[in-house]
Amino acid sequence: MACTGVGFSKNLSNARVMRAFVNGKDVVIWRSRSGKLSAWENRCPHRGMRLSYGFVRGEALACMYHGWHYGVDGKCKYIPAHPNLEPPKTIQIQRYSSCEKDGVIWVSEGIEANTPEIPAGLFPIRSMELHCSADVLKNTLCGLTSASLENDQPVFHVTDEQEDVMYIDIPKRKFALCFILQNFPHSRCFIHVLSERECAPRDKKWISRVLERLRRIAENRTGEAT
């Protein structure tokens, strides 16, 4: 089953929760107090509340609605309204497989996960949402030439393109970047951008602003197309 990059490890600290989309499915991703990562269907088996609104309590995720606790195995461990009841073993959340590699969190449906083929030793820069599909972004990137940008702007140069990963050079500044693409509902996407080399904060800031420029270009294209 293909993996989806959903964000950077550094952006999900212990005892915190995030929400993401994997193949169009709503997923809650959370880290227990001790740091264990889990990815589940974002739906509480009790009344369907989004679990991404929940709170981490120790090694469990508590639903914000009625406080049912789920352990890292996805099984209900505790029901506050019935503190003495052993929750039935059948109450269980659908789990996704998740792993972390070089600072990126990957999630896939099913229990067996293949980690994607990206080179080792890249440095996370920024995760950014765009209001255009990953396809529009890809086409924009591939279509960018020096002529389509003003003189003083950096030229992007797509060096390799795969299903969900692209490699981009910015020759002027000698940056080689890796873009991990993630589709989001409502024709949106996320890009998780890594650099081939360790960057000073000043360089990261420059790259971050270039990404915003890229977003403006790609979103304008979406505007023109519709």
Binding site: N11, R57, A62, M64, P201, K205
Partner: protein, 232 residues
């Protein structure tokens, strides 16, 4: 009582003052004003107190403040013995940065705040435009907090929170409540999501309707494998 706050529970702007007072541990008198549906803040009685006709209103004796940014500044200078919430006098640029983001907090009221009033009370607005401007404001903060994180700074102007963080917090935290319009929910903004966690972790943090606190652990809940001893 140190001061009087004319307050409305659902107001993000009133919450700024309640939150800062709680963080500073200051006691104050709270007078509830019915913003909706009575529009009591526009009543002759209230306009006599504050001609601005908005909430919150903070009064100290004869002095009246009607801008939250001014209230937060006054509270910091009056009650904050740590000196951390408003940067010290020797650093004009640090102060200017706080002022800049206090100004930005006004943009948040004008965008997310307006969209939220529309969702709550059906106030007439050009919703599509206001939502678009709300997304622009959230993106600006997201980009800034991301850049801050490159230097290990978790807050808007540095490693410690200032009144600029408190002024920006409520409407950002409430944006997901405004609607499901793409770009209003926090899932779109990893840096904002982490900043919200940091603010909620501050000692003295209090919630408001729509902004939840991270639950306090009760002993028997700290570890779900520990159960209460059955009675009897």
């Amino acid at each position: 009582m140190e001061f009087t706050l004319y307050d409305y529970a659902l107001s993000g702007n009133c919450y700024k003052v309640r939150l800062f007072a709680s963080i500073l541990g200051v006691n104050y008198e709270k007078i509830s004003v019915e913003f909706h549906p009575a529009a009591e803040h526009k009543s002759e009685t209230m306009l006599q107190i504050s001609p601005a006709g908005t909430l919150p209103i903070l009064t100290v004796g004869e002095m009246v403040l009607s801008e939250t940014q001014a209230m937060l500044f006054w509270m910091a200078k009056t009650y904050d013995r740590s000196g951390a919430w408003w940067p010290n006098n020797y650093d004009p640029m640090a102060q200017a940065m706080v002022l800049q983001w206090l100004g930005f907090s006004g943009d948040l009221t004008a965008t997310i705040g307006q969209a939220r009033l529309n969702s709550l009370f059906q106030t007439p607005i050009d919703r599509a435009k206001v939502v678009k401007c709300s997304v622009t404001a959230l993106r600006r903060l997201e980009a800034h907090l991301t850049e801050q994180s490159f230097e290990q700074k978790k807050f808007i102007t540095g490693v410690f929170p200032t009144i600029a963080d408190l002024a920006c917090f409520p409407y950002v935290a409430l944006s997901g409540d405004v609607g499901t319009d793409p770009g209003l929910e926090h899932d779109s903004y990893p840096a904002i999501r982490n900043w919200i966690y940091e603010i909620k972790s501050l000692p003295g943090f209090i919630p408001m309707p729509g902004i939840f606190e991270m639950h306090q652990l009760k002993d028997h809940e700290a570890d779900p494998t520990i159960r209460q001893v059955p009675e009897g």
